[in-house]
Amino acid sequence: MSNVLVIGDGPLAYEITETSKLNGHGVTPYFTNERGPDFSHPYINVEQIVSRSTDLILEAAKNKINYWYTHGSEYPKILTDIPILTLLYTESATHISNWLRNAPNVIGWAALPPFEKAKAVEIMPGLQTNQATLEAAQQFFTSLGKEPVIIKDCVGGVLPRVVASLINNAAYALMEGVASAADIDVAMKLGTNYPYGPLEWADKIGLDQVLGILEGLCEAYGEDRYRPAPNLRQLVYAGHWGERTGRGFYEYP
């Protein structure tokens, strides 16, 4: 049982808050963009929301720069002892730690909504991560009933990278008029046994989050293969971020 500060800007952050509470943790949530684009507080000073009793910071944010970059130079003074678990959708753990003056208490993690159904969670120590932080991350996810699996630090991890690439590919097919969104999803569920169609899954993950993963991969690898489909980008601009905004690839009345 520990006091967890959950910060983030997507469905995974809301879900992990609930899971943490259910498993007996004291949770302080701090969300932005809960119902879509929110321009009111672009930069968050985590120093002001963290408290003396905070044992662990679980960050599940796409716009990490809003949390860690601008105030980064100040953080290590107060936050060096608190493990910071950062969601590796857009940057690597090594990169985030670098923003925090190569702090050793930063470690990456990755998962996708629906988090409730996940049995395993990816954990990625950065080049600077120390043993205590790794152990804290393992303990935390174990306490949620998830098996922590250690992999190499990278943008997008395993599952988010594979699924975001499927979604991107499906979005291109949709844009090119190959088939309707519903037919693409049905085809992938019946033809290959996927748990969700790629486009309905995107609506659960959040289109903003999916775009973040693809942009992160583009940045990290500099390869055309990850360039986001223009229709995905258009939906994100319009605030159609999926289930939580009432509209994404589908509408949710």
Binding site: K117, A118, V149, V162, A170, A173, V178, M188, L190, R225
Partner: protein, 292 residues
């Protein structure tokens, strides 16, 4: 021709796919004329189909009488002109353009022009197959999945010059055969074989980069994402050679689109002869006794 008028379905090719299609057509109440150039294969296919139907009856999935009627509905032939009596034709001969094209040209002279010719091609262009026939509007794609009796999906492909009515009738036909149709344009890989590429290709990239080993990647995809099988397990099941060939074909067909770039590591695996379950070893090892 509208769906109500279709009583008899012609199936060309009695291999893996043709036999499955003939079976479900007979079970769905259609008369079936199953054609192959090879009489021996044709007889074997008939034996296999009646075996499946009989077993379904034994398991109580249909009555003995229904099974007998279904089997009686299937007639085999090695004489193509007999197709003249069919109201809808599904073609599942080997994946060779010239072969399919010459067959469709023969059908031009045998069948009346309102009969739909549906090709089960996986990788060829429906438009190209149709292009050399006298009535290209009646040629559509009807892509079943293997094994046909179990897989619910059918991709109905409208070629660039297919008639809208032919596409609609084929959609109805797929439903009559107990399938769930989706309509797609005539693009390489259609929906499934195109959209699924990154499932394998990104997993291979992650392995090449040393992010995790193949078993860990499979596990994270299954236990983290809820997939039934991980990409490496699935490659072993499909056959690494078959899966690699599909990636190469989609990559070539999209003029080297980087999203579809095949994996060098997979090519080496194919060259090594470790092709998956069928050779006893692929990404994983399989014991002799294990179910392949």
């Amino acid at each position: 021709m509208t769906i109500e008028h279709i009583k008899k379905i012609g199936v060309l090719g009695s291999g893996t796919m043709g036999a499955g299609i003939a079976q479900i057509a007979a079970q769905s109440g259609f008369d079936v004329l199953l054609y192959d150039i090879n009489a021996e294969i044709l007889q074997k296919a008939f034996g296999k189909i009646s075996g499946f139907i009989n077993r379904a009856a034994e398991k109580g999935k249909m009555t003995r009488e229904e099974a007998d009627i279904a089997i009686e509905r299937i007639i085999t032939t090695t004489h193509l002109p007999n197709m003249a009596g069919c109201d809808f034709i599904i073609e599942a001969v080997p994946e060779k353009l010239e072969l399919k094209q010459s067959l469709y040209q023969e059908l031009d002279t045998i069948t009346s022009p309102e009969i739909i010719l549906a090709t089960n091609t996986s990788t060829l262009s429906v438009t190209q197959i149709a292009s050399i026939t006298k009535n290209p509007g009646r040629v559509v794609g009807m892509h079943f999945f293997n094994p046909v009796p179990l897989m619910k999906l059918v991709e109905v492909i409208g070629g660039a010059i297919s008639d809208e009515a032919a596409i609609q009738t084929t959609v109805e036909m797929a439903k009559r055969l107990g399938k769930t149709p989706v309509v797609t344009k005539d693009v390489p890989g259609f929906i499934v074989n195109r959209v699924a590429r990154p499932f394998y290709l990104e997993a291979l990239r992650l392995l090449e980069e040393g992010v995790a080993d193949h078993a860990t990647i499979d596990r994270l995809i299954r236990e983290g994402g809820g997939f039934n099988m991980g990409p490496f397990e699935l490659m072993d099941l499909i056959g690494l050679d078959v899966n690699f060939a599909a990636s190469v074909s989609v990559y070539e067909a999209y003029f080297h689109e980087p999203r579809y770039r095949p994996s060098l590591l997979q090519q080496r695996m194919v060259e090594s002869g470790r092709l998956g379950r069928k050779t006893g070893r692929g990404w994983y090892e399989y014991d002799e006794g294990e179910d392949k």
